[in-house]
Amino acid sequence: MASIESTTRSAPLRLEATSLCKAFGGLQVTRDVSLALPAGARTALIGPNGAGKTTLVNLLGGVLRASAGNVRLDGEDVSEWNPAQRARSGIVRTFQINRVFKELSVHDNVRCAVLHRHGLARRVWLSRAQRAQVDAEVDEALGSLRIQGQARRITGQMALGEQRLVEIALALAMKPRVLLLDEPAAGVPESESGRILEAVERLPGDLAVLLIEHDMDLVFRFARDIVVMVQGAVFARGTPAEIAANEAVREIYFGRSGHAGGH
């Protein structure tokens, strides 16, 4: 399979997955997938439904353990780490289906993330300076998605598209080193999906981002590299121009679903 890396940049490798395999019983859902995200990567992962994209995110984020292969963060093998350990070391993900704390306010949702990032989540008391710092970072994360006006609303009472922005805000507030976005724009009205991309574009340049997305407009606006997965394996990879020009990809992926021209 394609193990030659198309990203030939000099930037240091942030996240490196080597020959990942995952099988559920007899069903092989990830086949020998290798992926390298250098610092500053803006990589999109595309492929038809059931191609194993979310499974790959689960393998990278630690929700699933690979049957074979390993995951390295800045050269360190994190394959045996659980999701919490990986999150603390900077691998942060969003979920395809919103996993926000519905009974909490938007502000408290994001505060929860900020407190965890600072290791203050189990404190009984914060100093005035700490409290101000935490609140400032909450406001910053909310502001980057332009939902600071919603801060006091109960998250579960908001429209699903708005909850989606809170989901993204949780991840941004973690100030990740590697950000795994699993269909961040799913369920967000088209008028608002731009906000997510803008927020991602404003992220620090050395952050490595892996984006799973079906919206090809978003993918081609965002990505500098595209990885195409089909049936659990990497089918093709390259720059957006290369992928758009790739006849096999057009046939297998774009051709049938008619996405090639975008929306």
Partner: protein
């Protein structure tokens, strides 16, 4: 997008009050005042009032464990009984000091919670419920078995408690006991409220709502649950110690499943989402018990059952819901009047 409409919706909890800290101990002052009024009005029933205060504290511990952390426990009596027997044993063999006895009750409750929680908090759902019941039953049998130490089903008695601070004698009528228990309740309430309002409390609620999401933020879910359970154990242990000290006996009934079940009913009746619910539920439950069992000693549980069903149908969030709806109504009224100007 309509913020105003959603904040006025009947199910909207009160807006997070930033000004809550301006009067730091307002709820405790309020509870204390109610306690004093009850004392003046029902001086003859001071034993019942003391029991209410102690049960309120036990309910607070379950409210924390169940309402905040979502740990479904039906064995809170294990922690309560551990505190009661610890206080009794200390008074009998070591020291008649009331505060030392209280402290040992706190430690015993926390210890039992720590040891049992380390195992049972790895389980979830029904398994967890069963394990909490099993823990309490095991402890009950252990205490029953070592009757040389514990007095078995006769209970542990024959100890005396020194005057509080060397001044206030624990009188036969239980007046000192009432004020002692009330003071400890106010302290515990203030401490738990600070805990619930802190980052620790926020993380606890987040764990209840979605433990996996907390892990994805780097949180230590198991450690959080265990800590909350130990704090709950300490509070339940304190309540147990107070019961042993004020009644001068630690009996097997402190470890009984019936007690765990009754406390669960109190907490659910009052509402699990805020600490106040525990107090509301305890007072309501015990008042109903007191009045209904006076009318018919055999069928008072029927009344409790009917009230519980009625409350749950009308107010799914417990008696707290009634309060929240009143507040929402009052606020809407105020907004409407402002609108006219």
């Amino acid at each position: 997008m309509n913020t105003l409409a959603s904040s006025l919706a009947p199910d909207a909890p009160p807006a997070p009050a930033a000004r809550r800290w301006r009067v730091p101990l307002l709820p405790e002052a309020f509870i204390g005042l109610i306690g004093l009024c009850a004392y003046w009005l029902f001086t003859d029933d001071v034993g019942l009032l003391t029991n209410m205060v102690i049960m309120s504290m036990l309910a607070l511990s379950l409210n924390l464990v169940l309402g905040q952390a979502g740990i479904a426990s039906m064995g809170q009596a294990a922690l309560y009984g551990a505190g009661a027997y610890a206080a009794g044993l200390v008074a009998l063999h070591a020291s008649p000091s009331p505060l030392l006895g209280l402290g040992s009750g706190v430690l015993a409750g926390a210890l039992v919670a720590g040891l049992s929680g380390a195992v049972l908090l790895r389980a979830h759902g029904l398994t967890l419920v069963m394990l909490t019941i099993a823990t309490a039953q095991l402890l009950l049998e252990l205490v029953n078995w070592r009757r040389d130490l514990t007095g078995g089903d006769d209970g542990l008695s024959g100890f005396s408690i020194d005057p509080l601070f060397g001044v206030f004698e624990f009188d036969f009528m239980g007046h000192t006991g009432f004020f002692y228990a009330l003071a400890v309740l106010l302290l515990v309430h203030a401490a738990l409220r600070a805990l619930v309002d802190s980052p620790f409390g926020l993380t606890t609620r987040a764990v209840r709502l979605d433990a996996g999401r907390v892990e994805s933020l780097g949180g230590r879910v198991y450690a959080q649950l265990l800590t909350v359970y130990v704090v709950g154990g300490a509070v339940a242990g304190a309540a147990g110690a107070l019961s042993a000290q004020t009644t001068k006996v630690a009996s097997l009934s402190t470890l009984d499943f019936h007690l765990s079940a009754a406390v669960l009913i109190m907490v659910v009746l009052g509402g699990t989402r805020r600490l106040t619910g525990a107090l509301l539920g305890t007072v309501a439950y015990m008042l109903i018990h007191h009045i209904a069992s006076g009318l018919n000693p055999h069928h008072w549980l029927l009344v409790i059952g009917v009230v519980l069903v009625a409350v749950m149908l009308v107010l799914p969030g417990g008696l707290l819901d009634a309060w929240d709806r009143l507040v929402a109504l009052a606020r809407r009224d105020k907004e409407a009047r402002h609108g006219e100007h």
